[in-house]
Each structure stands twice: as C-alpha cells, then as structure tokens.
C-alpha cells in the first residue's frame, strides 16, 4: 500500500499520466467516432472556460461573470477576421482582443470589490452584446454573421492545443511568485499592497490572461456554429456555467476545475440525450446536493480521504 501512496505523491508520476492522457486525446480522431470527437470538443471547451475562470477568480476571490463577454468577443473576432486570416492567427487574434478588452475593463473595475465587481462583470456581457447589436443594425445593416466552417478534427486539435497551453500557463503561474501574490490578494488585499505587491497590476494582468484563453476558445468554437448573432455569441449561460463547474470540481487544486468541467459537461450531455424531459430537473437536483453536501467539490472528497490516510501533518501550532 505504501508504495502506491508514494507513487501517487510523486510529481513526475502525474506528469507522465498527463502526457499519456494527452497522447490518447490527441490521437482520438484517428480511432474514434465523429460523435466522440464533437462531444469531447464541447467538453474541452467547458474545461477551458472553467480553468481560465478559476485561474483568476479562484485565488483572488474576485468572482467574475464576464466569461461570456470574452468568449463572445472571441466568437465575433473569428466572425470578422475568419475570412481574411488563416485559422490559427484568427484564433490568437480572438484571444488577444479579449485580453486587451480585459486589461481596459480590469483597470477600470478592479477597484470594485465583492458583489459590485461581480455585477459589473455581468453587466459587461450585456453591454458588449447590445453595443454590438446596435452597431450591426445601424452600421453594417446585418443582424448575424456567417462563419467559415472548419473540419471537426481541426477544431478538436486546435481546442486541445489551447487547453494544453492553458494548463501549462496555469501551472507555471501557480508555482511562480505571481501565483502567491494572487492568493495573497484573495486573502487580504490591503496587506498584500503594503508588502510591496502592485495589486492592481497583478490583478489586471491575471484577468487579462484568463480572458485570452476564453477569447481563443470562443474564436475556435465559432467555426463550428456557422452562424452567430449577438444573442448566440453573448449567451449569459457561458458566464454562469464555468462558476458552477469550478465549484463542482473544487477550486483548491489545479485539477479541480478540470474534473468539475469534465464531469459536468459529460453529465449534461448524457442527461440531455437520454432524459430530455427531465434534464434540467435532474441537473438541478445534482447541483443542489453537491453544494449542500460537498462544498469543497469532487476534489474536496478526494483530499479528505487523502488527508485521513496521511494523518495530521501540521498539528504543531
């Protein structure tokens, strides 16, 4: 038994497992059905939105509901630039436009705290949606746009690529001094500022980086949908779902939001296809049970078992 626990504690073991999983995923289109590829694309999209949300909101405690805004900005960037640019530059452009908007919005709003910040970020989704609607109707004279269609497997590989870059970025930020600074901001922003952390800069940049991945995900997903209008692109559900998924998985560990999003997106798909009439009801019940009985998420359960096994290490205070 002890050998197994020692292996589980080894970081290199987890790197190897991750690599194997990644290879299995990357080769998926070669041996699997088109349906699985599309399903897993959707799951990875949710994972990206959830992980990038948790990357900023998890440590800082600034609960953002702007995910749908950055996702939508990515979608529209692809709608506008998709025909002029090759796929990858267009995806990166989607991320960059979101990044820049996040920096501007962040610089204006990160002085707001708690519920005020949350409400503002949600307002941002509506604001961009309606500005865009106004622009499309009065200036370009359209309501929706057609988007260049891509192969399902191409979309899959691009979104997998975004996912890998996101996980690496997240991992290195968490390990760096900026990860520590983000956590200190969540714990006590005032103390953090007086210890030399340029809190506004750190917050705005982290907000921007998380928006980059949301935008990139939006840009690539847009190529699956062929037609978008502002109501489709700025669907507020994309703001709420990542929050739910992150809570579902647990935010303490890097893999929590990943597990939460995978579990959540898969359950959603299965419930939707098998019990279309009861889908929302069942889903709601599962969510309520989770929040009442497992406030630390799925990962919290694993950690509790883990800690019981290891015993109290930090008893001496």
């Amino acid at each position: 038994m002890d050998i197994i626990y020692n292996i589980l504690k080894n970081t290199r073991f987890w790197w190897i497992i991750s690599l194997i999983l990644l290879v299995l995923l990357a080769t998926l289109p070669l041996y699997s059905s088109a349906y699985s590829v599309i399903l897993i694309t959707a799951i990875i999209m949710y994972v990206i939105l959830t992980v990038s949300w948790a990357m900023f909101s998890g440590p800082t405690g600034y609960i953002s509901l702007a995910t749908a805004a950055f996702f939508g900005v990515g979608i529209y960037t692809m709608a506008v630039l998709g025909e002029q640019l090759p796929l990858l530059p267009a995806v990166i452009a989607g991320g960059l436009v979101s990044f820049i908007i996040a920096l501007i919005v962040g610089a204006m709003t990160l002085r707001l705290r708690g519920i005020y910040f949350t409400i503002f970020t949600f307002g941002l989704v509506e604001l961009i949606k309606h500005l865009l609607l106004y622009w499309e109707v009065t200036v370009t004279g359209t309501r929706g746009r057609f988007i260049v269609l891509e192969e399902n497997t191409t979309i899959f590989w691009v979104i997998l690529g975004i996912f890998v870059v996101l996980m690496l970025t997240n991992y290195f930020i968490r390990r760096s001094k900026y990860g520590l600074a983000l956590r200190s901001i969540g714990e006590n922003e005032e103390a953090s500022a007086h210890l030399g952390v340029n809190v506004n800069l750190v917050k705005v940049f982290a907000f921007g980086i998380s928006a980059f991945f949301m935008g990139a995900a939006g840009a690539i997903m847009a190529t699956r949908w062929t037609y978008v209008d502002p109501y489709v692109a700025f669907n507020p559900l994309f703001s709420f779902l990542p929050v739910l998924m992150a809570i579902f998985g647990g935010m303490g560990q890097i893999y929590g939001p990943v597990i939460g999003a995978v579990f959540f997106a898969y359950t959603e798909e299965k419930l939707l296809t098998n019990f279309p009439e009861y889908f929302m009801l069942t889903f709601g019940i599962i969510l309520v049970l989770f929040i009442v009985y497992l406030p630390d998420g799925l990962v919290g359960v694993v950690q509790r078992l883990w800690r019981r096994r290891l015993g109290g290490q930090n008893a001496n205070t």
Partner: protein
C-alpha cells in the same frame, strides 16, 4: 539625522480633522513611540505614512525624499514596512509563504525564490516561529500571528518599521517578549516607529515619544518628560 519627516501633515474625514498640521520626525536608529487616547489620529498618521490614505495637505519625507503621493507598494519597496492594529496576515497560506511574499515583492531589489525562502526561514527563526513554517497562518495563536506579521514586514528589508499596537491583546509575559523583540529589531539596524497603548511597554523601550490628541501634537520628548508632562496627564486622566 531624521529618517522620516512630516511637515504640516493633515487629514480630514469629512469635516473632522483626524490629523491636523502635525510636524514630526523620526531619527535614524531610534525607537519612536506614538501615544494618545482613542481617536487621537495615531493609526491615521500611520496610514498616511504608508499611503493607505492620501494626505490632504503637508508632506512626508523618507530619507530626505518625498514619499507622500506614492502608492503603498512603492513605499514598501523604498524601505518602509508596517503592521496593522488588527492583524492582517494571509490566513489560508502557510506561515513560510506569508514571509516569502514580503521577500519576493517588497524588497528594493528583486529576489529569487530560493533566496526568499532562505530569508523567510531566517526571519521565522528570529521571531521564534521556525517550527510552524508549514502550518496555515490562521492556525496560529494571536501572539504568534503578530510575530508572523512582524517577520513578514521584516522580509521586505525595511529601514523603517511601523508597528501599530504590537502588544494589544497580549498577556504580560507575551508583552515582555514583544518588548524584547522590538529592541532586537532595532539592534538589526531598523528604525522603529510604534503606536502603543501599554504604557509600561512604551516607556520601557522608546527613545522618544510623541503624543497626539484630537489629531494635534500636544507633546514630544523623552519618556520621563512625557510621563511627567502636565498636559499629557490631563489628556489621559482628565483635569
């Protein structure tokens, strides 16, 4: 030679003058005490020095250079660290991480992670918390949380340390130890500017004391001068 100088330092909260036209200076290497009844403006003065609040008028200089108008993180990197009246630590971070944060961000020159960790270990030993470096900060007792806050502030390599009621809420034995800690910090070459309510403590360790009342400076001098000043006694005990 003064390390910190304030000229005409003034701050209003609405119509109330929290700190009114106060001139003061802290000399290099001394322990300078700040006392006064509740609401006298002591913490406000600290908040002005550390830029938690902006001055209404006046100027604050550190080592001859104006620091009023800078942001809190800039003041910290210049070499002015502070602690808070109500302990402000990072409860869900490990004790060692708390101290490392100060070393990583607050020092005038950037420090690598291994150096910061070494610095943190040294400072935890200095304040007597070595055994608890992997515990969560919130798990510590009040006196240990205060020590941790001091270690974290020291990690930013300050030349001037502002201590806001380090001894509030401590038992007499703990107060004794805290007084020793203050003296040993000064012995490391760090100037100390401290607010304190525990008279025995402040009279025992300070070189000079300033008294604030209703935001105005009413006395300044050596501990024995302050303790015999008629004006100060009136303020504290009534006429």
């Amino acid at each position: 030679m003064p390390i910190l100088e304030g000229e005409g330092v003034t701050k209003y909260f609405g119509g109330l003058a929290a700190v009114s036209n106060v001139d003061f200076h802290v000399d290099q290497g001394e322990i300078f005490g700040l006392i006064g009844p509740n609401g006298a403006g002591k913490t406000t003065l600290f908040n002005l020095v550390s830029a938690a609040l902006a001055l209404k008028s006046g100027v604050i200089k550190f080592k001859g250079k104006r620091i009023s108008g800078l942001k809190p993180y800039q003041i910290c990197r210049r070499g002015v660290a502070r602690t808070f009246q109500s302990v402000k630590i990072f409860g869900n971070m490990q004790v060692g991480e708390n101290v490392s944060l100060g070393a990583l961000f607050g020092t005038p020159t950037t420090m690598t992670a291994p150096n910061a960790a070494r610095e943190a270990a040294e400072l935890l030993a200095f304040v007597g918390l070595s055994a608890m470096s992997t515990a969560l900060a919130s798990e510590l007792t009040l006196v240990n949380q205060k020590r941790l806050e001091v270690a974290t502030a020291l990690a930013t390599k300050p030349e001037l340390l502002l201590l806001d009621e380090l001894m509030a809420g401590l038992t007499p034995t703990e107060t004794e130890e805290a007084m020793k800690l203050v003296t040993s910090i000064r012995d490391r070459g760090i100037t100390i500017f401290m607010i304190e309510h525990v008279m025995k403590a402040i009279m025992g360790v300070c070189d000079r004391i300033m008294v604030l009342h209703h935001g105005e400076k009413i006395a300044e001098g050596k501990p024995q001068e302050i303790s015999t000043s008629k004006k100060v006694i009136e303020v504290y005990l009534g006429e």
